[in-house]
């Protein structure tokens, strides 16, 4: 248990008669890059919402960063970062103001915020943009800044919901390097994507079909099990049933 960033046992969410997430059981190890795949409408978003404390599960149990998803959602929120496909940055605030704002809402001290702001601007090479509004940044930089902002409070786990949709191939790769680096530093990454080549970058992936996890393993294991050459084929075989 101690080595798991996330543990879910029989986690279920029902909306009326409709079971969006049907008793999913899985665990994510500390420092792992975990790919959470599934077709549109398979229940990924609902599952993520339960894990980040935005939606109360109907059944089952789960802990995230060691905290219970039923009772300790506030503790969970302190320990995770979240970045959705729509960047959670304020386009009309400057780079610095955005970092300050998010540092502030996570209750970082003034000193810590100043430190963080400096280190993020340094690491992302954003010096010349520090006082420009985020709306003027190129897409790739917005995205990396968004990731940095999601991790401003040094979370144990970062949830990324389709972080790379529509981004050019070079920027996509730069983004994944940030993910590797974070994972190297012991941060757990929980990521969803529609790019199957990105699924290959994950340590382990799960594939959801109609609310259930139908496959879980390293990309290599899955390809061997389905006797195919790419994650794309694994996905298509599973989702088509």
């Amino acid at each position: 248990m101690e080595n798991n960033a996330i543990t879910a046992i029989g986690l279920t969410k029902k909306f009326g008669d409709f079971t969006a997430v049907n008793a999913i059981t899985f665990e994510v190890k500390k420092g792992e890059i975990f790919g959470f795949l599934g077709a549109n409408g398979a229940g990924k978003t609902t599952a993520i919402k339960m894990l980040i404390g935005l939606s109360r599960p109907t059944n089952g149990q789960a802990t995230v960063a060691g905290f219970d998803v039923f009772k300790q959602t506030n503790r969970i929120k302190e320990n995770i970062g979240y970045m959705s496909q729509k960047f959670s940055l304020y386009e009309d605030l400057t780079v610095k103001q955005n970092i300050n704002f998010y540092g502030g809402i996570y209750g970082l001290s003034r000193k810590k915020i100043i430190e963080k702001t400096a280190s993020i601007i340094e690491n992302l090479n954003l010096r010349s943009y520090a006082n420009k509004v985020v709306g003027d940044l190129p897409l790739g930089w917005k995205q990396r800044l968004s990731f940095a902002v999601a991790s401003v409070h040094d979370p144990k786990i970062i949830f990324l919901d389709e972080p790379t949709g529509g981004v050019d191939p070079a920027t996509r790769r730069q983004f994944w390097e940030m993910i590797y680096e974070a994972s190297n530093n012991g941060i757990t990454i929980f990521v969803t994507t529609h790019y199957m080549d990105e699924a290959e970058y994950c340590h382990r992936v799960s594939i959801m079909v109609d609310g259930k996890i139908e496959a879980l393993g390293t990309p290599r294991e899955l390809k061997e099990r389905f006797k195919v050459n790419s994650m794309d084929d694994v996905f298509i075989q599973l989702a088509r049933g």
């Binding site: 077709a39 549109n40 409408g41 949709g165 981004v167 050019d168 191939p169 070079a170 970058y201």
Partner: protein, 299 residues
């Protein structure tokens, strides 16, 4: 006569040059792909071709009609599926389709043969509101609505963005069947792997066309030595290779790294160098370039 003819098209919004000096043509009945990331200028070009936007410079024709002067003629013969899901969310599947059939002065029955393959999948949900459909279903409905008046030219702006891999694969199969009906299709996508499904493609980045050809010719044009490599530590391997003098570019590609070298170094010597750096389980092969390799190279 070409279905689409684009000559020296320029368009800027304020200080931003959205597209600059675009030239290409699409043949009748061709399935042509416009491949590039968000913000490359694809949607701007689509809006010009669908007569919604006037270019600053240059001109374009669709089925021989000028997009500015003859916009009314063009509007009768094209189908357009915008990048954002643009149907009436509070109308049902059937109501949306009926509405679009009616405003084009036709009926669902009349052109049912065109949409049949797609519509059978939608049929179980025909009374569901469009806003309640899944991403893949919405996209199919939007395609039906764009097709219902039997257009000569079909403009599909990022039809597969945000849609899962299965729905994407199905969507492309549908496009191939439509091609068989003789409809010219211009489709844009940020997914490089979809490029190979088009007959010809244009790679576009920051408003400029990088290359236009068949996918095959484009990948063949990649002349530099290319390897695929992996070892026990993927991230370390990436960092180590980036330090090597023979490396021109190294990028993650699925389970491998793609390494482009600037000299004729053999895979054996690369392998040796990596072993010295402590890598184990090294696998290294000559690789065939994909569209994405070319794109990364041209950027």
């Amino acid at each position: 006569m070409n279905a689409i003819e684009i000559k020296n098209i320029n368009k800027s919004f304020g200080d931003t040059q959205a597209v600059s000096d675009i030239n290409f043509s699409v043949k009748k009945g061709e399935l042509f792909g416009l491949i590039g990331p968000d913000g490359a200028g694809k949607s701007t070009l689509f809006k010009i071709l669908t007569t919604l936007l006037i270019p600053d410079e240059g001109n374009a024709t669709v089925s021989g009609f000028d997009t500015v002067k003859d916009y009314k003629r063009i509007r009768k013969i094209i189908g357009y599926m915008p990048g954002k899901f643009s149907l009436y969310q509070d109308l049902s599947v059937q109501e949306n389709l009926n509405f679009f059939a009616t405003i084009f002065g036709t009926t669902i029955e009349k052109n049912y043969h065109l949409i049949k393959d797609i519509y059978v999948q939608l049929e179980p949900f025909k009374n569901r509101r469009a806003g309640k459909l899944s991403g893949g279903m919405k996209q199919k409905l939007a395609l039906c609505c764009a097709l219902i008046h039997e257009p000569e030219v079909l403009f599909l702006d990022e039809p597969t963005t945000g849609v899962d891999a299965v729905s994407r694969a199905e969507f492309w199969e549908m496009l191939k069947r439509l091609k068989a009906h003789g409809i010219t299709i211009l489709v844009s996508t940020p997914y490089m792997d979809e490029a190979s499904l088009c007959e010809r493609i244009a790679l576009i980045q920051e408003g400029k066309i990088l290359q236009i050809d068949t996918p095959q010719n484009i990948t063949n044009s990649y002349s530099k030595p290319l390897f695929e490599i992996k070892s026990h530590d993927f991230y370390q391997l990436l960092k180590d290779l980036r330090e090597e003098p023979f490396t021109e570019r190294v990028e993650p590609f699925g389970e491998y790294l793609h390494l482009t070298t600037n000299s004729d170094i053999s895979s054996n010597s690369i392998s040796e160098i990596l072993e010295k750096k402590g890598h184990t389980q090294i696998e290294i092969n000559q690789a065939i370039a994909s569209i994405e390799d070319v794109f990364l190279d041209l950027m």
